[in-house]
C-alpha cells in the first residue's frame, strides 16, 4: 500500500471556502429567525410538513420555534419546543467546526467519539417514538 504513506486526507485538505460558507448560512438563518416569528399565524416559516400530513411528531417538530426562542434568548421556551435539538446544539457545533476544518487540535478525540452514528440513531429514533406518547414525562418532549 505505497500510496497510504502519503497523508492524502488530513485537516489541511478541507476546502478554504467551506467554513466561511457555513458561517454565512448560519448568519442568514439567525437573521431570518430574528425577524420572522414561526408562532405567528401566516408566518413565512413553514410548519413541520410531516406533522401536517400525518399528525405525528417527528424528531424535528418544534425545531424552528426552538431556534426562534434561542435567538431571542429564551432557553426555557426552546427546551419546551424541542429539547433534543437544544441539547444537541453544542455537539452539532463541534461537528460543524470539524467539517469546516476549524476544530482545535485538543478536541479531535472528543469529536471523534461523539461522531459515532450508532448511539445517535438509537437516540433519534427513540425520541421520535417517545414524543408521541401522550403521558406525563413523555409529553415534555413534544413541542409546546
Amino acid at each position: 500500500m505505497p500510496a497510504a504513506t502519503e497523508p492524502l486526507k488530513h485537516d489541511g485538505a478541507t476546502p478554504r471556502w467551506r467554513g466561511p460558507a457555513m458561517l454565512a448560512a448560519g448568519a442568514a438563518l439567525v437573521a431570518v429567525l430574528w425577524h420572522a416569528d414561526p408562532n405567528a399565524t401566516g408566518s413565512v416559516l413553514p410548519p413541520c410538513p410531516f406533522q401536517a400530513l400525518t399528525g405525528i411528531f417527528c424528531p424535528g417538530c418544534g425545531a424552528t420555534r426552538a431556534l426562534h426562542a434561542l435567538v431571542h434568548g429564551d432557553l426555557a421556551g426552546a427546551m419546551a419546543m424541542n429539547p433534543l435539538l437544544v441539547l444537541s446544539l453544542p455537539i452539532i457545533a463541534l461537528m460543524l467546526a470539524r467539517v469546516a476544518g476549524w476544530l482545535p487540535d485538543g478536541l479531535h478525540g472528543l469529536a471523534q467519539k461523539l461522531s459515532d452514528a450508532r448511539p445517535w440513531a438509537v437516540v433519534v429514533i427513540s425520541y421520535a417514538v417517545a414524543r408521541n406518547i401522550p403521558l406525563e414525562p413523555f409529553t415534555w418532549l413534544a413541542p409546546g
Partner: protein, 137 residues
C-alpha cells in the same frame, strides 16, 4: 502512538489516525516514501479503491441537521446509513462502510434538498398570499 499530523493518540498498530485520517507509520515520524504494505491491512485493499483505508466518513452531522431541521423521515434514513458506516467500519467491512457512507450522504442531500425547496416554496406562497391580501384592501 501519536499522529505526526495532528497529535491525536491512536491505538498501537493503527494504520490511520482516527482523528485526521493521516497515515500512521510504526517507524519513527518520517514516513518511508514507498514502504512495503503492512500485512494486516492488505486483504481489505481492493484494486481501484482511492487511498487505502482512511476512516470512512459517516456524514452524520448533515443527517442530524436534515432530521432536526427538515422534519423529514428521509433524515432518519440518513442517520441509519451513518450508523451502518460505523458498524461496518468497526467490523472491518470497508466496502460496505463506503457504500453506506455514500447512501448516508445521498439521503442527507435529498432531505436537505426537499427541506430547502419545500421551505422556500412555502415562504414564497405565504409572501404572495400576504401581498395578495394587502392588495385586496
Amino acid at each position: 502512538m501519536n499522529c505526526t499530523n495532528c497529535g491525536q493518540n491512536n491505538a498501537d498498530g493503527a494504520a490511520f489516525c482516527v482523528s485526521c485520517g493521516a497515515a500512521l507509520s510504526a517507524a519513527p515520524p518520517s514516513p518511508p516514501p514507498a514502504a512495503a504494505a503492512p500485512a494486516y491491512s492488505a486483504p481489505a485493499y481492493s484494486a481501484p479503491a482511492p487511498a487505502a483505508q482512511p476512516p470512512v466518513p459517516n456524514h452524520l452531522v448533515w443527517a442530524i441537521l436534515a432530521t432536526l431541521c427538515c422534519c423529514l423521515p428521509t433524515g432518519i434514513v440518513a442517520i441509519i446509513f451513518a450508523a451502518q458506516v460505523d458498524g461496518k467500519a468497526a467490523a472491518g467491512d470497508y466496502d460496505g462502510a463506503r457504500k453506506a457512507s455514500d447512501n448516508a450522504k445521498l439521503w442527507s442531500w435529498i432531505s436537505l434538498g426537499i427541506g430547502l425547496v419545500g421551505g422556500l416554496a412555502y415562504a414564497g406562497l405565504m409572501m404572495l398570499g400576504v401581498i395578495a391580501d394587502a392588495g385586496s384592501y
